[in-house]
């Protein structure tokens, strides 16, 4: 034990937990590596504190962990990323950068932050990379189970509620997940188009026009390429096989959802418990910059090209100003038919194109200025002062 004290072995509470099968005092002396409670079927879902909630005598787990104060979450914007999602008349756009950072190091310049959950839902994730990967998979599993049990797909709001409820027991621990669920609810029938028209009418009435022509210019140069969704076809075949009763609809690859109107949806879920539905959601350290661009250019009645250009521009500006965002931009577009993915684009190219454009503009301005001066020379009396005033 003297050696143990000197080395500091087994010193931190994180590494160790007391033995449960030994009485109190002895249990603290002999410690085993961290073990979850193995009885519960969902033992990996619950933190150790959950033991006492199941009407068992408080175990040594709970007494140990009650002494740990809840982790003080840093300033929220320390999620080093820029992700955004917004809805418009023709669906949902989800965009994100691809930089995964760890303090000052870029761990991975080509990470994928937007993951499809099913044919009509993608999730933008930010926060801790490992937590996000795990919770995406858990969400995918739960949604698939729901779909199999109830023969209907869970709505986006329902999925957000489900994720929020699953994350709630971990509040106060180090789990850090901020997910934006972007997707399309509902059946792809005339009703869908009808409800979209209604939404559009309402929104047009309160909308102001904004100038997106500068932004559209960007996408024209970039060359828009939408990949077809191979995965979506597979998922639709899968559901066809398992749910023959639903296949009598004309639409092959859309299941109806419970309740509520169909249409595009964006929902933000955070491991704090915050859950928001909205039209424009952006998360991460680059989100203020993205919000600025999005607020300026967003209109409900945008075309797909305008929306894609706006999303690209927003991510580009955010990656320019934010150190923790960068590298490439991923873009997904979700409609009633499912999601489509745009080829990953390197923003370095965009940056150089922008510089070229700026240089050109400066040259043009310089030419104009000289032309103006030249005119004034001709018009003026040749006085030396008039040249300087030009």
């Amino acid at each position: 034990m003297a050696l143990q004290d000197v080395c500091g072995f087994l010193e931190t509470l994180d590494d160790i937990s007391p033995c449960t099968y030994l009485p109190n005092e002895m249990g603290y002396m002999w410690r085993t590596p961290f073990e979850f409670d193995r009885d519960s079927a969902f033992h990996f879902l619950f933190p150790p504190q959950q033991c006492s909630r199941k009407n068992r005598a408080p175990t040594l787990f709970s007494s140990t962990f009650s002494s740990l104060s809840p982790h003080q979450q840093p300033f929220q914007l320390s999620h080093g990323t820029t992700t955004l999602g917004f809805i418009f008349q023709d669906g949902v756009i989800a965009a994100a950068d691809t930089r995964a950072s760890c303090k000052g190091l870029i761990c991975c310049p080509i990470s994928q932050k937007i993951m499809p959950i099913h044919s009509h839902l993608v999730v933008n994730t930010s926060g801790s990379g490992a937590d996000c990967m795990l919770w995406e998979r858990i969400l995918t599993r739960e949604m698939r189970l729901y779909q199999l049990r109830h023969r209907k797909r869970l709505s986006i709001n329902g999925a957000a509620k489900l994720l929020s409820t699953m994350l709630h027991p971990f509040k106060g621990t180090n789990v850090c997940v901020a997910a934006t669920l972007c997707g399309w609810d509902g059946e792809e029938t005339q009703d869908t188009l009808q409800s979209c028209m209604e939404i559009a009418d309402v929104k047009e009435a309160v909308e102001q026009d904004s100038n997106v022509s500068a932004i559209s210019d960007v996408s024209a140069q970039g060359g828009v390429k939408m990949a077809s969704i191979n995965e979506q076809d597979e998922i639709s075949k899968d559901t066809q096989a398992l749910n023959p009763t639903v296949s009598n609809q004309n639409t092959k690859n859309v299941l109806s959802t419970f309740g509520g109107r169909s249409g595009p949806r964006v929902c933000y879920v955070c491991s704090d418990g915050l859950q928001l539905k909205g039209e424009i959601i952006s998360v991460g350290s680059g989100s203020p910059y993205a919000y600025a661009v999005l607020d300026d250019g967003w209109r409900w009645g945008m075309t797909v090209d305008e929306a894609v250009a706006l999303a690209r521009e927003a991510v580009f500006r955010a990656t320019h100003w934010d150190a923790y965002s960068g590298n490439n931009v991923d873009l997904f577009h979700i409609t009633a038919h499912g999601w489509r993915r745009r080829d990953r684009e390197d923003l370095k190219e965009e940056y150089y194109r922008e510089r070229e454009r700026e240089k050109k503009k400066i040259k043009e301005r310089e030419k104009e200025r000289q032309k103006r001066e030249g005119d004034e020379l001709v018009e003026g009396e040749g006085d030396i002062y008039s040249v300087h005033c030009g």
Binding site: H168, K171, G273
Partner: protein
Amino acid sequence: MEYLIGIQGPDFVLVAADNVAASSIIQMKHDYDKMFKLSEKILLLCVGEAGDTVQFAEYIQKNVQLYKMRNGYELSPAAAANFTRKNLADYLRSRTPYHVNLLLAGYDEADGPGLYYMDYLSALAKAPFAAHGYGAFLTLSILDRYYRPGDSALSLIRLNKRFILNLPSFTVRLIDKDGIHDMEKLPVADCSDCRAPGG
């Protein structure tokens, strides 16, 4: 910062809450409703830590509705307030205390209007007027100065209009014997012409 205010009149209760859902420095939503309808004549206004507010308020809301389903009649505002306080107190010394500040406003057929102030330590007080948030520091003294128990709804709404801090808009609701009524959402511009209420 979030803000709630409630004022009790002779036969109504007036409540208002700001509309901002913020995540550190970013306003993620500016039309966020912080009022939860517990029953036809009871509203729960809830602010505090991000996930706790919705979780706790929805838990109370569903339980009050369950009571009605099981027993056929609704809980009175006083009963609902005490139920809420009991739940908050039970969780206070657990490992997952809910950090929420609440106002519960309701109209009872027998007792009339009631406004209950509850804070995150589950202290409950029935009060003629109450507020939560940084705005409370400013508005409580004004309410002390100008509140009269017999004020009409109109003068209290004007009183309400003074209390705009840096928050862009508020949702205002009135509860009286006929139920819950939405008043208009107050934007900041409306307050420039306000003076102290006349009487």
